[in-house]
């Protein structure tokens, strides 16, 4: 395991340049260019605000903020898993022709999504400030920590699914519907109070739930997230990452032949 980490570290420049290339080429050719990175979440927020405070009034105070502080991290997670599962297949040219630690590809993909989430958070914090909703500085200190936990979780999932998709292409096509179902099983659009008591323990098995709840605690409720939420979140993040890497290592030897 130590050797793997060392090797990936040696290839950090490759990760860095892949991320840079993805970020630069994402909005290439558009008039507004990189501005879209900020414009996208802002426009989304406006749509949600209109829909949920005028048309579908939910019983939750400032529902658009309630939703948005969970939606931005969810989008990071789902796009990491969704797009990440194609990261190996999508680079078949490199895989078939040259050696590098294969983990670099999912890592670069998830990191790109992560950077996009950070940029979206600039908008989130800006909106919280401008609307006067405000924030709790002490609670905010926990934000980077929970982001790292989510990064580990997303990376673990991306490693797992990117390797599996090489052997089973259907996974790539099914991932869209899987992440959609996953979103409804995660308290992004609703709070956990809504979940019926008898399903609660089953529902809690979802590894993303504690992470999303922590984001909401920090930004919406302006509280320090509870230990009961944080500890399982960290544990799940680490376990999923290790599990993902073990599966990835096992499967990666056949990548060049299977692609």
């Amino acid at each position: 395991m130590k050797d793997i980490l060392k090797e990936i570290y040696a290839y950090r420049q490759m990760i860095f340049s892949l991320v840079k290339r993805d970020l630069r080429s994402r909005y290439k050719g558009s008039v507004l260019g990189f501005l879209w990175t900020f414009l996208n979440p802002l426009l989304q927020l406006i749509v949600y605000t209109l829909v949920f405070s005028v048309i579908m009034r939910a019983g939750i105070d400032r529902y658009y903020i309630f939703l948005f502080v969970a939606l931005v991290p969810w989008i990071f997670f789902s796009s990491s898993v969704n797009g990440g599962c194609m990261s190996i297949i999508g680079s078949s040219d490199l895989i078939k022709k040259i050696y590098f630690p294969r983990e670099v590809l999912p890592i670069a993909y998830v990191t790109t999504c992560f950077v996009n989430m950070l940029l979206s958070f600039v908008v989130v914090l800006g909106v919280l400030f401008v609307t006067g909703y405000g924030f709790n500085i002490v609670a905010l200190c926990y934000l980077p920590f929970i982001m790292i936990v989510e990064y580990l979780l997303a990376l673990g999932m991306a490693l797992l699914f990117s390797a599996l998709t090489v052997y089973l292409r259907d996974l790539g096509y099914a991932m869209g519907i899987i992440t959609m179902a996953w979103q409804f099983l995660t308290p992004v659009m609703y709070s956990s109070d809504l979940v019926p008591e008898r399903y609660l323990s089953l529902w809690r098995l979802n590894p993303v739930t504690p992470v999303i709840e922590a984001y909401r605690a920090i930004l919406y409720y302006k509280e320090i997230p509870q230990m009961g939420t944080l500890v399982p979140a960290v544990m799940i993040g680490v376990v999923v990452l290790i599990l993902g890497e073990i599966v990835f290592r096992k499967l990666q030897k056949g990548f060049a032949e299977e692609i």
């Binding site: 892949l18 040219d93 022709k97 050696y99 292409r169 259907d170 056949g254």
Partner: protein
């Protein structure tokens, strides 16, 4: 010692830079491959495959600073070996140890992005080889200088010609400063001058103690750089040792193989009862058409039925080694008794260069005759077929005593010569130096 035993080239593990131990590798060749879930589930019986064994317990070591060449015919496993060393694929059993940083000149320009500039692509490409930013910064000027693309380095790569593209890619790969360099079919890059530069650079790298493994069909290049050649045959080492010697044996084998293939093809054609195609795809010349017209004429008195080349034992052959003896069998069909006639044979290279025209009459050979009509055959023996390796044709003519042509068959038969000799021209003149 022309043929090294395996032990001879084994060294202490700590001196070795590459250790390949008992490596086996087979590929599954799917007859009908399906990789979607439905196909895997429903048509499991359709997923039949053949296991093709490519490497069969391969063992070798390469000492630090040694340069070796892998040779062998297509499909022998040499490229698979190189891929295994690169760690693109992994062995089914056995182990491979590579000590130090590995760079490969296998796929040049991996990850090049057409819209980015040459300089930016140097960074991306070098990063794929595992270099850090600081390491690339230190090398970038060398890379640009080597590629000779100073003027264009900040233009997008898509504006480059393919030669420029390859030059840039090669410059990056060769400047990685690896401990082990793996090369597949080198130096097909750029113009002659650049190739020479790459070649010299390779020699320089070798002198710095870098271990080099080359797969190439160009035996000359291997001889110029490598200390040892490994001839891989059917997934195992057949011979290894001093490149020149190994290559001589290898080429001998290749020639033998070709003769076998050629003869098999001949036998197959014969068995299939295929009609002999006289002109071998060549345009029928006006002259031949006229002759054919005469041929079909009723007053023709003789026609050339077939011309067959054989070895001395009388086995028909289409391929000979320079210096072999050759029997030429000429089958004629006479429509009336022939009192006196001569046979002329012209041998020429496929491009029309005449090697020799043999005129039976002119050289004073006694005329032949046929007392009855019907088929008859005549044999000419060439004791020493001193033709350099190439494709040759034979024209045959029958003339009467007044040198009037009775029948003529252009390109009546075809044969090939092979040889160790790589001299150019048509005829091999026996010679020696004093």
């Amino acid at each position: 010692m022309s043929q090294g035993t395996e032990q001879e080239y084994m060294c202490k593990e700590e001196d070795a830079s590459i250790i390949v131990k008992d490596v086996c590798k087979s590929f599954k060749v799917y007859l009908d491959k399906g990789s979607t879930f439905k196909e895997k589930l429903l048509f499991s019986n359709r997923r039949r495959y053949e296991e093709r064994k490519v490497l069969n317990g391969l063992n070798f070591m390469v000492k630090k600073g040694e340069a070796i060449g892998l040779i062998g015919h297509n499909g022998c496993g040499k490229s698979t070996t190189l891929k295994l060393l690169t760690r693109i694929i992994y062995p089914d059993s056995g182990s491979i140890t590579m000590k130090g940083r590995v760079s490969s000149l296998i796929e040049l320009g991996a990850g090049f992005h057409p819209d980015l500039s040459g300089r930016e692509n140097i960074y991306t490409n070098a990063a794929i080889f595992g270099l850090t930013k600081a390491e690339i910064d230190a090398r970038v000027d060398d890379i640009i200088a080597f590629s000779e693309l100073e003027e264009f380095i900040d233009n997008p790569v898509r504006t480059y010609s393919s030669g420029m593209y390859m030059r840039l890619a090669f410059a990056v790969a060769i400047n990685v400063n690896a401990d082990i360099l793996l090369i597949d079919e080198i130096l097909a890059v750029g113009d002659a001058a650049f190739q020479e530069k790459c070649f010299n650079r390779l020699k320089e790298i070798k002198s710095q103690g870098v271990t080099i493994v080359i797969v190439s069909h160009s035996l000359g290049q291997i001889e110029a750089i490598c200390d040892r050649s490994i001839w891989i045959h059917e997934g195992n080492i057949r011979e290894q040792g001093e490149p020149r010697e190994i290559h001589r044996n290898y080429q001998k084998y290749v020639r033998k193989k070709r003769i076998e293939v050629e003869e098999k093809e001949r036998a197959r054609r014969k068995a299939a009862g295929e009609k002999k195609e006289r002109n071998y795809g060549q345009e029928v010349s006006e002259e031949q058409k006229k002759i054919d017209a005469i041929r079909d004429n009723d007053d023709k008195i003789v026609s050339i039925v077939d011309v067959v080349t054989e070895d001395l034992e009388g086995t028909p052959r289409g391929i000979f080694t320079t210096g072999d003896a050759m029997k030429v069998h000429i089958y004629l069909k006479a429509y009336q008794p022939l009192e006196e006639f001569y046979i002329n044979v012209g041998i020429g290279r496929f491009d029309g260069v005449v090697a020799q025209s043999i005129h039976m009459h002119a050289e004073g050979t006694k005329a032949r005759s046929l007392s009855t009509s019907g088929e008859a055959d005549f044999t000419m023996v060439i004791e020493d077929l001193s033709l350099l390796p190439n494709l040759y044709f034979m024209d045959v003519a029958v003339e009467d005593a007044e040198d009037h042509e009775l029948d003529y068959s252009q390109r009546a038969c075809r044969f090939e010569t092979v040889s160790e000799c790589i001299d150019e021209g048509v005829v091999y003149l026996k010679h020696h130096w004093e």
